[in-house]
Symmetry: C2
Subunit: 250 residues, 2 copies
C-alpha cells in the first residue's frame, strides 16, 4: 500500500482539478464520491482509478475492486478532492460516456437548464421512466458536475447522458419518425391532447426562459401541463417528471 500524504502530489492535484468543468472537458474524466456512486460506477465498468482514505481502506471490498488501480490517501487529503461536507472516504475516477446515436424510443432533451439539482433529478427520473438517453444542449450545466451526479443517484451509469446540438437531434429524431414535443406556456396544447405512442422525445427548458423559441419552431407539437390552481408554473424537474410519465403511458 502506497500512502499519498501530500497535497502537492501530482495525482492529488489532478483529482482536485476534476472538480472543475474545464478539467473534466479536457480529460473526458470525472470524479464520483461515496459508496453508492462508486459501486454503481464499478457495475457500469467505467472506473479508471479508485481512491480511498486510510480509514476507509480496510473496508474496501477487495473481491470487487481487486483488479482496479487503488490509491490510498491520508485522511486529511480527502477534503481536497471532495465536494461534500461529510465525505465517505471512497472516490472513483471514471470515463465520461461517448456521444451516442439515436438508439431506442424515448429521449429527454434538456435546453439550458442550469441548476445542477434539477438536471440530476431529471436524469434520475428519465432512468425511472425507462428513457433511452438524456441529451443536454448548449447552456445546460455539465452533467458530470458533482451536484448533478449526487442528485441523479447513479442514473448516469444506467443510460447514456450526452451533450449534443439540440437542433441536430430534433432533425434526426424527426427523420426517424419519432415525434418531438416541446414544452411551452404559449402556442401549445394541453398534454392531454397528445395521442400516447410508443416513441417520443421531450424537450424541457431553462427555469426562467423556457425552451428556446427556435427549437420550439422545429418540434412536432408543443405542450403545457394544465394548471388547475393559482400557481404560475411548475418546477422544471417536476414538470419533466409529470410529462415523462404521462407521455410514456402505462
Amino acid at each position: 500500500m502506497n500512502l499519498i500524504q501530500s497535497a502537492k502530489n501530482e495525482k492529488v492535484k489532478h483529482w482536485k482539478k476534476l472538480l472543475t468543468r474545464k478539467e473534466r472537458d479536457k480529460t473526458g474524466l470525472f470524479l464520483v464520491e461515496g459508496e453508492h456512486l462508486v459501486f454503481e460506477a464499478k457495475a457500469a465498468g467505467v472506473i479508471e482509478e479508485i481512491i480511498v482514505t486510510e480509514q476507509y481502506y480496510p473496508k474496501l471490498p477487495k473481491a470487487k475492486f481487486g483488479n482496479d488501480e487503488v490509491y490510498v490517501i491520508a485522511n486529511n487529503i480527502e477534503r481536497l478532492i471532495s465536494d461534500t461536507e461529510t465525505p465517505q472516504g471512497i472516490f472513483a475516477i471514471c470515463k465520461q460516456g461517448a456521444a451516442t446515436d439515436i438508439k431506442g424510443t424515448r429521449f429527454l432533451l434538456i435546453d439550458a437548464v442550469q441548476d445542477p439539482g434539477n438536471v440530476g433529478t431529471m436524469i434520475r427520473t428519465a432512468d425511472a421512466a425507462g428513457f433511452d438517453a438524456v441529451v443536454l444542449g448548449v447552456g445546460s450545466v455539465d452533467p458530470y458536475n458533482p451536484k448533478v451526479l449526487r442528485s441523479a443517484q447513479g442514473s448516469h451509469f444506467h443510460l447514456p447522458i450526452v451533450r449534443g446540438n439540440l437542433n441536430e437531434w430534433i432533425e434526426q429524431l424527426k427523420e426517424k419518425d419519432i415525434p418531438v414535443y416541446g414544452t411551452a406556456l404559449q402556442n401549445a396544447v394541453s398534454m392531454y391532447e397528445v395521442e400516447i405512442g410508443p416513441s417520443f422525445a421531450l424537450i424541457v427548458g431553462n427555469e426562467g426562459q423556457g425552451v428556446d423559441e427556435q427549437l420550439l419552431e422545429k418540434t412536432n407539437q408543443n405542450l403545457y401541463i394544465p394548471i388547475f390552481g393559482k400557481s404560475e408554473s411548475l418546477n422544471v424537474a417536476v414538470a419533466a417528471g409529470i410529462l415523462m410519465y404521462y407521455l410514456r403511458g402505462k
Copy 2:
C-alpha cells in the same frame, strides 16, 4: 419617513429573529422577501408590516401599499434580515395561516420531509394541481422557513398550508369517505390500479425512510410509481408531482 439605521433597533432584532423557527412558532408570524412574494402576500391580505430599503423606497407602489405600515431601513441593515445573497430591498412580515378543517376534495399530507426545497416544490405543485390543502406532519421542515417560501414561489398564499397530526387527519378524511393513499415501495399496488375519483388524499414521506409504517397501516391503499428503468426510486417532490397529477385525472 422614519429611517431605521441601527442594527440594535428593536424592530430589526424582531425581524431578524423571524429567520428562526422558534420565533416564528412563538409569534405566528413569518418574513417574506422579494417583490414576487411580497406582492402575493399583499393580494392574500396577510401582511402586518412592509419593510423596504432606502434604495427601494422610491419604487414602492404607494397605491398598493398606502394603508400598510411601511418601515424604511438603511441599505446596510438589509443583509441582517435577508436569507438570500442578493436581496431585492423589499420584505413583509405576514401572519401564518390558522389550522384548517377538511374543506375540499384533494389533500397532500407530508410526513417528515426535511428538505426545504422539496417541501416548497411540493406546495407549488399541489397549488398547480388544484389541491385544497397541504398538511405537514411532525418531523417536516417548517413551511414558513425562508427556503420553503422561495421554492413554493407564492403558493403559500393560494391554499391552506397547515401543520397537523397526520393520524388524526387520516381518520377524519376516512370519516368523510375521502380515500387516503399512502406511498410505499412494499405492500403497495401500482398507481395505475387506482380508480381515479373526484376526491382523495395523498401521503408522501421522508426522503430516506418513506412514509411512517403506522400511517401506512391506516390508509385505504398504498401506491408505488412503477420504475421502468434501473433507478431505485424517485425524488420525493417529483414522485409527489407525478402522483398528484395522475390521481386527480384530467
